[in-house]
């Protein structure tokens, strides 16, 4: 029961971060990105506290007994952390970095940790979000971001191809990745046939 209470609090915080970061999809949101990221990181402070309290609610060596309770919110948090890191640096957040943001361990041996499958699920959610961001970037007039997203997603896809997945929920999620890849390719294609991507590279160098 207690676990459920803490999980609910975590979900609430996650929702707050999500609402905050959703703002980047709109035109005005683009300028605000660094500020939004900073605010998001502050929220993660709350997350850390909540996870600390969650750790105390059960014996450390029975993590997987109760794992299902917080699995969803943890995956959500991984996604949010990955999103923030991407907005800041356009790189993929590492498992260790996520663990640090959330204030938990990276390995099982050291206690409450991030399971690799939860990390991967969160990353896949990031892919979907970036597909959406690519579309909205164009709408907002940013023609270079989709190209960078495209490179990033392709690398991500190559990485996932290395994995031998079982026919479980992670695999089904991964199957969704190809639709994200396709969507982003379409955006890039739309830009390239209209010469807009060239405009972007020229614009980046030639403005001012």
């Amino acid at each position: 029961q207690e676990i459920r209470k803490v999980v609910q609090a975590l979900e609430q915080t996650a929702r707050e971060i999500l609402t905050l970061l959703q703002g980047v999809h709109q035109g005005a949101g683009f300028q605000d990105i660094p500020k939004k990221c900073q605010k998001a990181r502050e929220h993660f402070g709350t997350v850390r506290t909540q996870l600390e309290s969650l750790k105390t609610k059960f014996p450390a060596d029975q993590y997987y007994r109760f794992h299902e309770h917080w699995r969803f919110v943890l995956q959500r948090l991984v996604f949010l952390a990955a999103f923030v890191v991407y907005l800041e640096s356009e790189t993929l957040v590492t498992r260790e970095a996520v663990a640090e943001i959330l204030g938990i361990e990276a390995d099982r041996e050291r206690g409450f940790h991030l399971d690799i499958e939860d990390y991967l699920s969160g990353v896949l959610t990031l892919a979907s979000e970036l597909a959406r961001l690519a579309v909205n970037s164009v709408t907002a007039g940013d023609y270079s971001r989709p190209l960078r997203i495209s490179t990033f997603i392709n690398e991500l896809d190559s990485g996932f191809r290395l994995l031998n997945l079982k026919n479980d929920s992670l695999r089904k999620r991964y199957d969704g990745l190809k639709y994200d890849v396709k969507k982003i390719e379409e955006v890039v294609y739309d830009l390239s046939i209209r010469g807009l991507n060239k405009e972007a590279t020229v614009g980046a160098g030639g403005e001012k």
Binding site: Q62, H67, E155
Partner: protein, 285 residues
Amino acid sequence: GSGGFRKRKHDNFPHGQRREEKENVNPSSALMTSFKSFQLELDTRHDKYERLVKLSRDITIESKRTIFLLHRFTSAPNGEEILNESEVKLDAVRRKIKQVAQELIGEDMYQFHRAISPGLQEYVEAVSFQYFIKTRSLISVEEINKQLIFTAEDREETTNTTSNYNDEQPHTWSLKVTPVDYLLGVADLTGELMRLCISSVGNGDIDTPFELSQFLRQIYDGFTFIGNTGPYEVSKKLYTLKQSLAKVENACYTLKVRGSEIPKHMLADVFSTKTELIDQEEGLS
């Protein structure tokens, strides 16, 4: 229309460009390197899971065979032999459980619980069946777990396992059957006991049914106490348990009312028709 336009757009899709882009992915970039390690980690985990599933299946098969063997105890004059053979079989099962325990060293058991649970339940069923035949009582979960503490048997085993321990320290592995698995195994046991009841009557044994009736009623009371507070599977088994108990009670009733009238060698017929009827009913429902 716009549908047609879309189609044409896809035909002109620059597939060549896409392929080129994919080849540009640096295979030793940080991201790719970490995914390679993910691959390794996931493969290792899946392999372990599969090994445990195989062990669990072996445990299930051997436990089931032990149960069949123990059913033969009732009609055979060489009961002692059968009991000894059953012990040998159960020792073999326990050796498999030891392998499970070894696989689970340093792991969180609950991560792999689904892989081994069926096997453990079957084992509980078998070992409690044997215990009942010997002692007419129910083995406790503590007693079961006591038998699942293993030590390294010979030097060979200790040197094979990678360890930082002193060679003098004995390696111990243990597996704890969870209360839920124990309950589910005992619930399945009641089904076997019900069969035992019917077959013992057929052998002219008119004491066992009454002992079983009392025993099963106690188990049933225990389960009723848990009621619906346990996990879903327990509630499901409770339903079957009720039916088993009813069959046994009906058998006792028949014995009591008609037992003295019917010669022993015909008792079996009475019960075979009755069980046929019951089974037919079940088939229809």
